[in-house]
Symmetry: D2
Subunit: 387 residues, 4 copies
């Protein structure tokens, strides 16, 4: 756990970073919600602030006055035990509170929390909730990037976010197989520094011999799959993946545009020619699985990934694994609202490992378990193969 003085720095840095991310937006960009999975940037800014007010200031700070009685209502999310929530699809229909209001709300809560940390010695319990709140905000920073990309990238004018954000590292080194021998391995977090409850309970697993790639699948390899008719061969797909392809008429990764025969990609730097040596991004689990089938290979399990992770570079794409998101042995949810966070999503989701170009470096650790529904593509998702 962080010291109180370290926490203040962490808090200040976290709050500033969210605002830096949004500094490249127009007011209008803060408001819209083109699909249910994407939240308006305004909402992310308010919601992460509400978290500190609801779980730190309200219960623990003497004489704290709420900035506004309605804020909890509008910026609450899935924490249904706290109170009535705004239906998620409605977020994009709320023009009020305004962006200016949200920034005032942020400043008010940030100041109150800084005062709180600076003015008295806080109990470990309070320090822990504040640290969770910072990590929570960092998670939403990743969503800010991906949601902004969705909002801009689905606008017919293809406005760019800025010139600095670099999505596409060059992966021109050779592909190799890393071998791991069968045996018992320990995985999971050892709980010495911050992690989420779903990583806890370090435990033994038995793994058979396997090999895992040192390199993510590149755009170039994926074009081969497309050109070989991968999207049209039913035998490569899960039954529900095949339905998904046909219902949604999918024929390429998200953000790809074939303009006069040339593949382009919308990036946060705007619409560009596709970089062939960059790691593939914005594909669903169904596509990851079909690509692996086509190669005669497979996706790793999350256990295989974690055991081998020190032997390859990762961090530019969230990597779909074959593992469904389930509780680790001995998992039990924390009591109360914070405890709802992870356990309630442990059905019908796939685990992703690694982290992406949009992930805060505080959120990338070998034990981190990200999870999404199989068809989702708005995150920076990619493929690492195993056999």
């Amino acid at each position: 756990m962080l010291l109180q003085s370290e926490l203040l720095d962490f808090f200040n840095e976290t709050r500033a970073q969210s605002e830096l991310i949004c500094s490249f937006l127009e007011t209008e960009d803060y408001v819209v919600q083109p699909i249910v999975d994407v939240s308006p940037p305004k909402w992310h800014l308010g919601h992460t602030t509400w978290f500190f007010e609801e779980f730190v200031l309200k219960p623990y700070k003497n004489d704290y006055h709420l900035f506004d009685d309605h804020s909890a209502y509008v910026f609450n999310s899935y924490y249904e035990s706290v109170g009535e929530k705004v239906i998620r699809t409605d977020r994009g229909n709320l023009s009020r509170p305004t962006v200016a209001w949200v920034y005032k709300y942020r400043n008010y809560v940030s100041k109150a929390l800084k005062d709180f940390i600076e003015s008295e010695e806080l109990s470990p319990e309070i320090l822990e909730v504040i640290e969770i709140g910072c990590h929570h905000e960092k998670q939403h920073q990743e969503l800010l990037y991906t949601d902004i990309k969705y909002i801009l990238g689905n606008n017919p004018l293809f406005p760019k976010y800025n010139d600095q954000f670099e999505e596409n590292p060059i992966y021109d080194f050779p592909q190799e197989w890393i071998s791991v021998e069968k045996g018992n391995y320990d995985i999971g977090h050892n709980n010495t520094d911050f992690c989420y409850d779903n990583e806890l309970g370090r435990h033994t697993v038995y793994l058979a011999d396997y090999q895992i790639s040192n390199k993510l699948v590149t755009n170039k390899e994926y074009i081969e799959f497309i050109e070989a008719g991968g999207y049209k061969d039913v035998l490569l797909w899960h039954a529900e993946g095949w339905d998904w392809v046909n219902t949604n008429q999918i024929s390429a990764p998200s953000y790809w545009h074939n303009i006069d025969g040339d593949w382009h990609q919308f990036t946060l730097q705007g619409l560009q020619k596709l970089i062939l040596d960059a790691p593939l991004s914005h594909i669903s689990y169904y596509e990851a699985f079909a690509f692996a089938q086509w190669k005669g290979l497979r996706l790793p399990t999350e256990q295989e990934w974690e055991v081998a992770n020190s032997k390859f570079n990762w961090g530019s794409r969230w990597e779909w694994t074959e593992s469904a998101y389930s509780p680790y042995p001995g998992y039990s949810k924390a009591p109360g609202a914070l405890g709802e966070y992870n356990g309630k999503f442990m059905v019908n989701q796939k685990v992703l490992r690694g982290g992406s170009v949009a992930t805060s470096n505080k959120q990338t650790r070998p034990t981190y378990r990200n999870f999404f529904h199989a068809p989702l593509r708005w995150q920076f998702t990619g493929i690492r193969l195993a056999k």
Copy 2:
């Protein structure tokens, strides 16, 4: 038809009025589209501008340069013959172009059009299209009011629009029946000044004896209907009205809120106690019909309304009639894109007559035929009874 000099005034007044209406909004309010029938105010401002660019400047003005190549794409609407359109439900997902951009676009087009009117003598054909463009913008001004009301009135914070807009006149005069004798009557527009194609073709109809009320149904009378169980008596409703009531769990007009036993109404002035003597507003055709059934009366036809209109006051609510929206005898659509305007909607809609507190006075004339689908309630719609 207006003289060229009159048209300039009309144009200037119209353009200024749209901007005045929007001057009470926050930037965020311009962007959202909570339901498909409501368009973002930003879109109305751009779309009415696009109309002048597309149908006047582009075809007729020498050396006119488009403000921006993409504008037609984003601000086109149902005129599918002009080019590909943005799907209507998508309007609320477009954060760009920004509000500031839209105002620049308006200024550019307004200036170009003023120059055009001032600098040369225009043909009657051009003058007519400009006049249509002004009426088109005035129609969208009414939608601006009703769409703004929807956007603010469905926000949990209930923000008010301004303090000036008065929705609710007091109707405390006695109800009386106006009798009209059977016989042949002529209805429709005589085409001496501006009207829409659907009003044209003045023609004879035969009407039997009838009586029509001098007064719109008030909120007080409608509360009696609610309290008598009107929403729960299947025998009062059309079969599809009954489905609508139950599927959507309707139990009061739109914008009504029962707070601790007292009826309140969201208005453009904010949430208020319901004014009992004000004319009822925001009800569907199904509700209008059911109320009439409950009274043992009926709605007038549009012919009955038009023949008697000089004998009663109207103009605060659009009045649902029993008439389905059909072409008048001899109706034929004008060729080309402008001609698409009315004929293509002549199925499964109900005619409304009169005009509302949100209607421009240029749009309220005895022959004007408004039309909406039976379940829609976001307009200022009311009930006048007949027997």
Copy 3:
């Protein structure tokens, strides 16, 4: 009104006819409901029987014992005032009661009703309800034909119904225009013999000069429309018709199949080559309207149709009119359950006039007002043009 002795014959003939229609079916054909508008033949047989039990035997016959307590529940329809109904889409999921049970139910009720007519002198009120019950059953006989056609014609094996049922008369006489002069005309039923409440209230209408075709549009003419790109020209269609065409990928009338370049049609006699000189059938109102637009003509109103009907042959197809289904002047629904019958459907439906090859001759009279939603095509619907 019929004499009591005539009514007995009418009843016997009606009951026998329903059973004759079904005598060509396999047991399985009685059970299924492929779309919501089509009811299982078993249901029609039970429902028409329930009508006599519910509205005649139960209220009027002393000591009548219900055949079974559950029958009302399963065979009730939209008469919601009588009791809870089985949701219409569920009819096809009910394997019980069996077909054999339904025939026993029919026999029991038919016998009880015959006894009732033969054994005592019935009041005019009772006689009227029995006569309505017979007409009701005759209406369901038409639905039996069209629903059976749908059930068989949407089976991939294309089983034929029988060899006798002739759908396609030959229309090889020349097309001519019948002129009607402007003036006041009376339409509606004079109430001397049986009719439905929606035909009543003979009343005056004023009609302008018009011309109406002596001949229904043929398959040959409709092929010209298809080949001229009629289904692809947005300008010919209502906005909602255009949506319907595209959403459902409509490119020909229902039951048409293009097999190796030749148009075929599924008929009750099985799959056949399309007969070019037969009147077009199984088209929606949207298609009827678009065809008329393409010809530069229009559909007649129901008033125009009724005034001119004696001057042309009709009866092989239900003819879409331009008229929306509305109450005649002075219409008021009858009290109680029977009265629900017509008024509750008077919104968003189009009137059809004439009658089809499937219509009982008791149901074809010049004043009869049939009505369907604009997209429906499973009836024998056709086009007569006007100008």
Copy 4:
């Protein structure tokens, strides 16, 4: 693998059993499909027959003549690689081929296959496909029971299937915990006799210490959960389980009816008073999980279940496990159509272990992996707890 002579007996017994199951049905019961997961009994009989024709007789038997060219089309299922399929939801709309036809088809194929087995020595490859076909038919026998239960149990008349089928064993012995020590265990099928591809690849897993109940949860215990408000406590449910409960207004297991305060259950013997000591049945995975949460316990994984299975009785209910359905290490699908069988469903499904009162004894073995989507309840599903 079975000897050829044993296989003949197995084949004969299997075919006779399907027909015995259906011998209690009315013709109408064979036809309907009330929900997409339930297939008409007629379809099961035809489909299992088609399997033998398609995969045995057609490829391997000289001079075999298809019974009918259309059969493959109508009775194919998800094996999309074989040819175009009838959409699953359409099965219940097909009145043809008739039940009588299906029995003729069965007899024809059964006779041809018996002749084939009796007349020549078959290769191991052929014997294997025939054996798979028998197991395939036995799987469909279980579906026959559950689908028939759904068809009859959702009919408002609640017809019983027969008096013999016993669903509800009495579980009145005491509940005890069986302890298993941590360590490496081998699971999966050893491939000495018949199994499915998803069981293959016997492999090592490491398990931590755990305890598993000797007894399934009973109806009595589940009533306690209901009465304690289990369906109303959001904290017990997965997020998507909570949505499911509220969207579908679930408040009890499937087939339960509270009649005047007493719980009843529809069984294949008809509607009965609920037997309190019988094992709970017809609950979704969401309900199984919520019940375990309420108890402060959990569901076992499929590995835990398999390792401990010899220490408790099982076989009356399919037992939901916490395990998502994933491939075993080294799993690769068999080439061709038969190989599609299992792998394509390995996403978003939960594994169930054990077997139910409807399961053929050939299908209940400790390694058998059944799988269903989380919300499904029409199978005989139950709960065994672990900790």
